[in-house]
């Protein structure tokens, strides 16, 4: 029943409200002293030598892709796991094929060196 999720919703809303308070309160009541020292990422420590927003290596994209694919795969494992005990091999065989195709993809990416960070 959807009503069962009401506490969850209340929790989410409470968390949002709390976060909002934690952000808004200091901006209203906190002291503000503007000077160059304050604008440094660290008041003491290393002097930044580069813009923090630099272009990432495209390798991250492949990692993110892999994450997405195996995330989807995991989603499909849940309902399958629920029926595995009843259906046994009838459920096992399709999932083996499903995973085999994905593992082929993973092996291919691995062997092509897409996961080597290298230099």
């Amino acid at each position: 029943m959807a009503i069962d999720y009401l506490p969850l919703l209340i929790l989410v809303i409470t968390a949002m409200i709390f976060a909002a308070i934690a952000i808004i309160t200091p901006t209203i009541f906190g002291p503000k002293r503007d000077n160059t020292q304050k604008k440094q990422p660290y008041e003491s420590g290393m002097i930044p030598f580069h813009d923090a927003r630099r272009r990432f290596s495209v390798k991250y994209f492949l990692v993110a892709m892999l994450f997405l694919l195996f995330d989807i795969e995991v989603i499909f494992l849940y309902p399958w796991a629920v029926v595995l005990r009843d259906l046994r091999w009838l459920a096992m065989a399709p999932m083996v094929f499903f995973l085999a195709v994905l593992i082929v993809g993973l092996l291919y990416e691995w062997k092509k060196g897409a996961l080597d960070w290298g230099e």
Partner: protein, 175 residues
């Protein structure tokens, strides 16, 4: 107030929650489509997907809701963020979401909305498609369907993922 007492209030409460989610979806999807900063567009999209997950929960499609959160908010949002960070020039400056065809686009989407609205008023509600089983039985049903009636789409999905992986290799590898 205990939960059973609350469920006496249920119809109105459900409506309130629905309206809240609908508002969230409407506002954040506008952000996703129109905000001048690409990163804000992406965040707006994530919030939209979250709102849609909420609607799924209200429709008692818990599994779809959880999948939505895991896949769309977990993985696809990450992928979009990466894609933005990988692209030179998109991290900096403003990327306007509008071009010369903004007005034409607005008119056509407006017309599409009117047509959909017309259909909504035409349909003799309620429209019951199938009996709904709840909770764990639903997920078990889903699992059984994956390995029987929908075996072929299930395996095709693996193939689709393989295509995506190979394609990513082809497009996104350093040479």
């Amino acid at each position: 107030m205990s939960l059973p007492e609350m469920s006496a209030l249920f119809p109105t409460l459900q409506e309130v929650i629905f309206v809240l989610f609908a508002l969230l979806i409407a506002v954040t999807s506008l952000i996703a489509a129109m905000a001048p900063n690409l990163f804000h567009n992406a965040l707006g999209l994530v919030a939209t997907l979250f709102g849609i997950a909420g609607i799924y929960f209200m429709l008692e499609a818990e599994f779809v809701g959880v999948s939505q959160i895991l896949v769309y908010i977990g993985a696809i949002a990450t992928l979009i963020t990466f894609a933005i960070m990988l692209t030179r020039g998109m991290m900096f400056g403003r990327t306007s979401a509008m071009n010369r065809q903004g007005l034409a686009g607005a008119i056509i989407s407006g017309l599409f909305f009117v047509v959909l609205l017309g259909i909504v008023f035409q349909v003799p509600w309620p429209n019951v498609v199938a009996d709904i089983t709840d909770g764990e039985a639903l997920i078990a049903n889903l699992g059984a369907l994956f390995v029987s009636t929908y075996l072929l789409p299930f395996e095709l999905l693996a193939l689709l993922l393989l295509v995506a992986l190979t394609g990513a290799l082809l497009l996104a590898r350093d040479r």
